[in-house]
Symmetry: C2
Subunit: 223 residues, 2 copies
DNA sequence: AACTGACCAGAATACCAATCCAGTCATTCG
DNA sequence: CGAATGACTGGATTGGTATTCTGGTCAGTT
């Protein structure tokens, strides 16, 4: 194998397209490299000019899914909306983008996970770092705008990644996560909480303590 | 089978103790019901007076682990410390209690998960509801004290459960979670963020916007 | 030089026999 | 008499073997 493909060569894309279709339809084990090559309309050997193994092809489809997510995150980051709004949408997107991709691949994902767990785990670290970098950038924007506070934007970004990871279809399969709208609403509640926090602001706290204006104590409430 | 055991009969406890030892040492599949009975010092049939199946015994050990967690959570909830401090410790405990239990059972947990996934999933819902109830109570305390804000304490409790679930050894095995102190520090950072939130308080925001006292804008900062 | 598909070794499957073990229940024990 | 037991059974698991399948290679073709 040489794998000297130009990273986004048309042939490489065709292989990944074919893999997406076959993995969704037959799963990882039942998909053979012969099937894959003929579905992509190329010879089997050619596949090995672009990927070093069958596992790398499967992981390649996930790499591409995340690469597309990163593109969408960067697009949101580049918008002119206030940083908190961009950040909110980016966090929601990282959950739903994966959910929507996992939906048709539910069967193959389980297989890939049991077969390529260590390799996928290592990549997840990379994925998370890449996402965290984009999120940290927007947090910095928000701090500059005075709309967000974070002493360590990079660390905060990583923590936000951790917090939203519970809603990702990694080992919790798609069926276990539940219906799309439920995942979405859980993600929204979580993100709301991450933004607002639980602690009552100092001013509110003293008001509530004195029982002066108890109804004001819940003005900036948490849904 | 009748399973008419008084919920915490000495025999039932002995069976669970034996199961804990054998599952940790040999895993789920290699542990036979004969082994279990002789380790517990009873006849095999007796086991079936307390548990309806082998799977129920394994799930029973997890039930007990969570029951002990609930006890510890209630103990913290009953303390006289301020609600935010109690809540913080409860959230950290729900992560670390599970980690410490999963550590010696890493092998058997994987097996139980692949064999009894649906049953365990259903129980997880119950576990989370039980934990959420205790957490919601403390949130209510905090709201009453004016130290926390939450329009819907029960919903907030469930969201806090979701947020910290990413650090639980459910499908992410113990090795994948990393070293104990790393898990602990990640949990602490996450909990800090959940309490403080990302949004700058209104007063701080306006200060930062006007660039009047930029150093004050980060007074209540996020580690 | 880019691509192909026939080829090979090792992995997966199919099959059967032998073994094991979860769960039952007639019997024993206290 | 009810609680406890362990011999018993059938369905599942294992082991051994023959056969097929398929991931990966590379000599040859375009």
């Amino acid at each position: 194998m040489r794998t000297v493909s130009p990273a986004d060569s048309p042939t490489r894309e065709r292989i990944l397209d074919a893999a997406d279709r076959l993995l969704a339809r037959y799963g990882f084990r039942k998909t053979t490299m012969d099937d894959l090559a003929s579905e992509a309309g190329i010879g089997k050997g050619t596949t090995y000019l672009h990927f070093s193994s069958k596992g790398e092809v499967a992981l390649g489809t996930i790499d591409r899914m995340v690469a597309r997510l990163i593109e969408r995150l960067e697009a949101i980051a580049a918008e002119s909306a206030p940083a908190p709004e961009r950040l909110r949408r980016m966090l929601l997107l990282r959950v739903m983008h994966r959910f929507d991709h996992a939906q048709p691949h539910s069967q193959s994902l389980d297989e890939v996970l049991t077969t390529l767990r260590p390799a996928l785990l290592a990549r997840r670290e990379r994925y998370f770092r890449d996402e965290a970098a984009r999120i940290a950038q927007v947090i910095r924007d928000g701090v500059r705008e005075g709309r967000l506070r974070a002493a360590d934007p990079a660390g905060a970004a990583h923590t936000l990644i951790t917090a939203t990871n519970a809603l990702l279809p990694y080992s919790l399969s798609v069926e276990e996560l539940g219906r799309r709208r439920d995942v979405e609403s859980r993600a929204e509640r979580l993100i709301d909480l991450l933004f607002a926090g639980l602690c009552a602001p100092a001013s509110t706290r003293s008001q509530a303590r004195s029982f002066a204006k108890p109804h004001l104590a819940q003005r900036r409430i948490l849904k």
